[in-house]
């Protein structure tokens, strides 16, 4: 039930480049990009299935 490779290949981190915050090292945006790149991925079907089944679980 693992997400397959294509869900992980996503769109990459190139889409967002938030403005640099003063006083932070260059890589601090990278941390955000790492996080945002996952937000940008399409949700794997396993999650859609799981969410749709939740209502039956009561």
């Amino acid at each position: 039930m693992t997400a397959d490779e294509k869900s992980a290949s996503g769109k990459g981190g190139e889409k967002r480049s938030p403005g640099r915050e003063a006083g932070k090292p260059d890589w601090s945006n990278g941390l955000r990009q790492l996080y945002d790149s996952v937000l940008d991925e399409e949700l794997p079907d396993t999650f859609k299935d799981l969410l749709s089944k939740l209502d039956d679980k009561d």
Partner: protein
């Protein structure tokens, strides 16, 4: 309000909010455990636990913070069962960050991720919450069940360590495969988990 049965409308609201935070849970989990497939397993586990514990959610409070506590506890439990060894996911290895203006060498996302995974878990999660998730120090402290000062210190140490690794290019390759390092991490985990009497130990 805690134990009351929720109305159908409240359940629908809960589910809508839960659905909205799934991408955030995936992003947090990916940063915590490093591998996309394991991270997603962890998120599924957290979603089921959150659903089962929904009567304990206070409507109007942050669903993201509430579910992060559940995800974090699931991660700590699994870590102690030796499921995750901070393995690095090669599927992100090719991603390259855009170079900031005026800088010659772009930082590779893969380097960033690998460096992140070498941090002790409590520093890694603190940095993820504040530096990536955008939580305030106060919110991060609530999620981790520790003092605000502790979070600030963890974030500071994490940033300093990443800074050293990324600017000097001295990222350990296999530190987490090492038995001694792994044991040390598990000991620290026990410490982190024991300091956490807060919500959602479900």
């Amino acid at each position: 309000m805690g134990a009351e049965k929720r109305t159908a409308a409240e359940k629908a609201d809960f589910k809508r909010e839960l659905t909205q935070v799934v991408p955030h849970l995936r992003a947090f989990a990916r940063g915590l455990c490093g591998r996309a497939d394991m991270a997603d397993d962890l998120v599924q586990e957290a979603l089921l636990k959150a659903w089962a514990a929904q009567d304990r959610f206070q409507p109007g409070t942050s669903m993201r913070a509430w579910t992060f506590v559940i995800l974090r506890n699931a991660y700590l439990t699994d870590m102690r069962r030796n499921r995750f060894r901070g393995e690095y996911d090669e599927t992100v290895a090719e991603r390259v960050l855009t170079a900031p203006a005026g800088q010659e060498e772009p930082i590779h996302l893969s380097d960033m991720h690998r460096a992140l995974l070498t941090l002790p878990p409590e520093r890694r999660e603190a940095l993820l919450l504040v530096g990536a998730g955008g939580f305030s120090y106060e919110e991060a402290a609530t999620i981790c069940g520790c003092a605000v000062g502790t979070i600030k210190s963890r974030v500071g140490r994490a940033r300093a360590a990443l800074n050293t690794m990324l600017t000097e290019g001295s990222i350990p390759q296999h530190s987490l495969d090492d038995e001694t390092a792994h044991r040390a991490i598990l000991e620290e985990l026990d410490e982190v988990a024991s300091g956490n009497g807060v919500a959602a130990r479900s």
